[in-house]
């Protein structure tokens, strides 16, 4: 694994209507690493993503390695159930049939009939896979993954995190994911960034996620956020 830096963020500030959403954020990310961003609701996690994608105005510097391609998996889509748009049409915006087939394979969709379903009629887990397929069809070097808060079926043979981990390993993808589940962070991330409008902690999960930083992040209710699920 090369140790070159793919992303360098320095003194990042984002304001919305005069209100500070992110302030004084600095960190860097090495190529091929998996970075998890954690923090309470309203901590500015999605805003940080949008700044990284250049979708919101900011002060400070965000420098991606030259020529880097970014894939983005949004948390949710504004898609009505009966939107007349099939999965095949949606992915067709990104490439032709062989590329769609390849992407399906990469994200572990083996049921070809999914192609003909409507985008809005997919389950949360299916939609997420299709969005990952959409993102990787752009041949990204980095994948930004905004985890949905709830309502994802974890059923099936491979969880979305195993999928990300596999893409991370197989394709050498650098991954930045917003996570609401600290278990996921411990299991899958090389580094973690704790965010609560400011940078609370940054580093390897076992070092950065101290009880002190968790308390700073979630307040005294940190313990409730930290319930362990069986995986």
């Amino acid at each position: 694994m090369k140790e070159s830096v793919i992303l360098e963020v320095k003194d990042l500030y984002v304001n919305f209507r005069g209100e500070s959403v992110l302030s004084n954020i600095s960190f860097s990310l090495k190529k091929g690493y998996a970075l998890a961003i954690v923090g309470p609701n309203g901590a500015g996690k999605s805003t940080l993503f949008r700044a990284l994608l250049g979708l919101v105005p900011y002060r400070g510097t965000i420098s991606w390695e030259k020529g880097v391609k970014i894939g983005y998996v949004p948390q949710k889509l504004a898609v009505e159930r009966d939107l007349p748009l099939s999965v095949h049409e949606f992915l067709g915006f990104r490439g032709r049939d062989p590329e769609i087939a390849e992407a399906f394979n990469a994200v572990g969709i083996h049921d070809d009939s999914l192609r003909d379903r409507q985008l809005g009629a997919l389950s949360g887990g299916e939609l997420q896979r299709v969005l990952v397929a959409f993102a990787i069809m752009g041949n990204p070097d980095v994948l930004l993954f905004d985890e949905p808060v709830a309502g994802i079926d974890l059923g099936g043979e491979e969880t979305i995190y195993n999928l990300l981990l596999r893409l991370h390993k197989e394709k050498g993808l650098t991954i930045v994911l917003i996570s609401h589940d600290l278990d996921v962070v411990y299991r899958y991330a090389d580094e973690v960034l704790c965010l609560n409008k400011k940078l609370v902690c940054f580093g390897r999960p076992e070092e950065a996620l101290t009880s002190e930083s968790l308390k700073k992040l979630y307040g005294d209710s940190a313990l409730f956020h930290h319930t362990h699920k069986q995986i």
């Binding site: 949008r50 994608l53 250049g54 979708l55 970014i70 894939g71 983005y72 949004p74 889509l77 504004a78 898609v79 009966d82 939107l83 007349p84 748009l85 099939s86 049409e89 949606f90 915006f93 990104r94 409507q118 985008l119 969005l131 959409f134 752009g138 930004l144």
Partner: protein, 260 residues
Amino acid sequence: MIFPFLDTTMLLGITTSVFVGVAAGYLGSFMVLRRMALVGDALSHVALPGIALALLFNVNPFLGAFFFLFIAVVAIWAIEEKTNLPTEALVGVFFTFSLAIGVLLTPEPELLEALFGDVSDVAFFDALLAVVFSLLILSTAFWLEKDLLISTISRDLAESAKVKVKRSNLLFLLLVALVVALGVKVVGTLLMGALVILPAVAARNMALRFRGFSLLSAAFGALSAVLGGGIAAVYNLPPGPIIVLVAAAFFFVSLAFRRA
């Protein structure tokens, strides 16, 4: 055929209605998905003061209508990009304002035609305009299709995929302005919104994919225009309202086909 006296004037009328009907239906399919159903309706009223001024200064009403629509659309787009207010609210502001001014300015003899259109009397030049601009609308919208659909699903996703969202939004609104200006001759300013929306909502009830949806919508638009124009000619009724009634009939029939 249901056209008993198919002369040149009729042919020009039919040609105009078909082309405008197809363009309106196809654009309507995007508008419905973008939750802009009422935008076309409201925008069509903006055309009225333009028509009035064109009549006063003796220029082609289409040009007058388009000029006003163009200004309104650019203003709406600019405000929308700056403030994130929903398009519908903005259009609502322009709409009432324009309608009031338009009704005051339009000379009384022409008011009825401006409000409800008249395809029974289309000049060759107007038919030519309709054909050329309809083809322009169709080809531009087809070229923009991918960008418009991705940004409808998620603006962030579109921008992350390097779609020029601002540009495609502006182009799309301009196409809407163009189709509304063309539709003034067919169904008039008051009813043009219906010709954009009804075919699309009818098609949406029946289609699973965008390709089927947009083709069906365009077909409903054309059929409404031709059948409505024909029925109006046979029974000597004003074509504009009949065309819209036929489009509405397609919608009610489509309800029977609606997928769960």
